[in-house]
């Protein structure tokens, strides 16, 4: 099992560690609900160094990447970040990722659990010239600060004006004097930043942020809180709302599928799917009662099974209602549709709602 550069700090902070994507990662420090509350109302600090970071260089990166991804790469502005997906020929999802167009290279961040698969995929499809790939998985760190107080807490540590940094853009700067790529991106539904750092620099910055801002409510947060936050914000998690068998179109990500691009892996299948409009899709579900829906539970509609739950959790930002995503037939996915979720042999009523469940006040 691999460890991030912050492993000793997690252990010292009393984190519960679990295997995730090949790394021993903190699932929680104090309590998932307490950490969730910090991110929604103050700020939380996350170690995301388990995620795969690939560096892409060369003149051909953008045109080449555009043949493998559903969203546009070539139209990205300097220092812009963009959500993007890689598909298989059937349109199923290889991975969901973020591209960052930096000054002299591209940074591609992939899911930890897909990092090896994606590294092989990129290399198998690499052109003979014009694209160099460097695998930084485990060699570079990623620390995120997320929450409404993140600008105020991070600003004293950096030499750039964070207020001027737009959502889904990044900047090369220094954090406590150390070079870092600072991106206004995240996976929580709140404002916040992701700091790409060297492994050597990560522990000092992690500890400085926590020590200086803990009294203002900054909490170290684990993957447990992150999962609740992303689900409330309607963001997919690979392995749940997206898999090799679930396409971005089914997951409600048609906005990130640019069928106007000349050609890309999976395009034909995705176009056919959009055209036919008769596919199982991800729907937002709110349980009527207090029983939580969980991954895998059967979903009933009009007296028969129409799909299954893909993610579920209590939602502190929605008065502790139980929310879930379900992959269900089209007729059962319309807003307001009544569903029954089968839990340990008993059916429990639920309603389809539009995603996201939670949207922060701007």
């Amino acid at each position: 099992m691999k460890r991030t550069a912050l492993y000793d700090d997690h252990a010292r902070l009393g984190a519960k560690l679990v295997p995730f994507g090949g790394f021993e990662m903190p699932v929680q420090y104090s309590s998932i609900l307490r950490e969730h509350d910090a991110v929604r109302h103050r700020a939380g600090l996350f170690d995301l160094s388990h995620m795969g970071q690939f560096w892409l260089t060369g003149d051909m990166v953008a045109p080449w990447a555009d043949t493998l991804t559903t969203n546009a790469v070539g139209t990205m502005k300097p220092m812009q970040a963009r959500y993007n997906l890689f598909c298989n020929p059937e349109g199923g999802t290889h991975d969901d990722t973020i591209f960052y167009r930096l000054e002299n290279r591209w940074l591609l961040v992939v899911n930890a659990s897909n990092a090896d698969k994606m590294w092989e995929h990129l290399n198998a499809n690499r052109p003979q010239s014009g694209v160099e790939l460097e695998n930084q998985h485990g060699k570079s760190s990623l620390v995120a600060i997320q929450g409404p107080r993140s600008v105020a807490m991070l600003q004293p540590h950096v030499d750039v004006d964070l207020g001027a940094l737009k959502y889904y853009f990044c900047v090369e700067g220094r954090v406590d004097g150390v070079p870092a790529t600072i991106a206004r991106t995240g996976y929580t539904g709140e404002d916040g930043f992701e700091l790409f750092l060297s492994n050597d620099a990560a522990p000092a910055i992690w500890n400085a942020l926590l020590e200086k801002h803990r009294s203002e409510g900054l909490e170290p947060c684990g993957l447990g809180a992150r999962d609740v936050l992303r689900l409330e914000a309607g963001m997919p998690l690979y392995g749940h709302e997206l898999t090799e068998a679930i396409t971005p179109v089914q997951a409600g990500l048609k906005w990130a599928v640019k069928t106007a691009k000349p050609d890309f892996l999976g395009k034909e299948a995705l176009e056919r799917q959009i055209e036919g409009d008769d596919f199982a899709r991800i729907a937002g579900v709110v349980m009527d009662g207090r029983i939580p829906a969980r991954d895998g539970y059967p979903v009933w509609h009009d007296g028969r099974v129409v799909g299954s739950i893909r993610s579920g959790s209590i939602a502190p930002s929605l008065d502790n209602k139980n929310i879930a995503t379900a992959l269900v037939e089209k007729a059962a996915a319309t807003e307001g549709a009544r569903l029954e979720i089968e839990i340990r042999g008993t059916k429990h009523e639920a309603t389809v709602v539009s995603l996201p469940f939670y949207k922060r006040a701007k």
Binding site: V27, L33, G224, P292, R344
Partner: protein, 126 residues
Amino acid sequence: MAQPEDLLYSKEHEWVKLDGENATIGITDYAQESLGDIVYVELPKVGREIEQFFNVGVIESVKAVSDLFTPMSGKVVEINEALDGDPAAVNREPYGAGWLFKLKLSDLDEAKSLLNAADYEKTTAG
């Protein structure tokens, strides 16, 4: 938290408070700490006869569903209905307001198969 001395414990991390032919059942501090934030508790129905060490319900935390076992046999005479609106009481006060159910015991001898506080403490060490 030290284990209360006046309780008996199962290896599955439930506690029993004996009171003549009756008993109150809950989960230990170690169990609630391992589970994390508890969000839902499903208890056996009042009137049901349940058998020692069998699965009689579930306890759900934010992340996981865990089986609940009964440390003794008997008839369920009361359940902690307050947990429906406040399952987090199990986290806050596992030996108090977070109790789970009460039994009219069918076999008092079963208590011999349970652990005292000191022996239970050893099972959770390390």
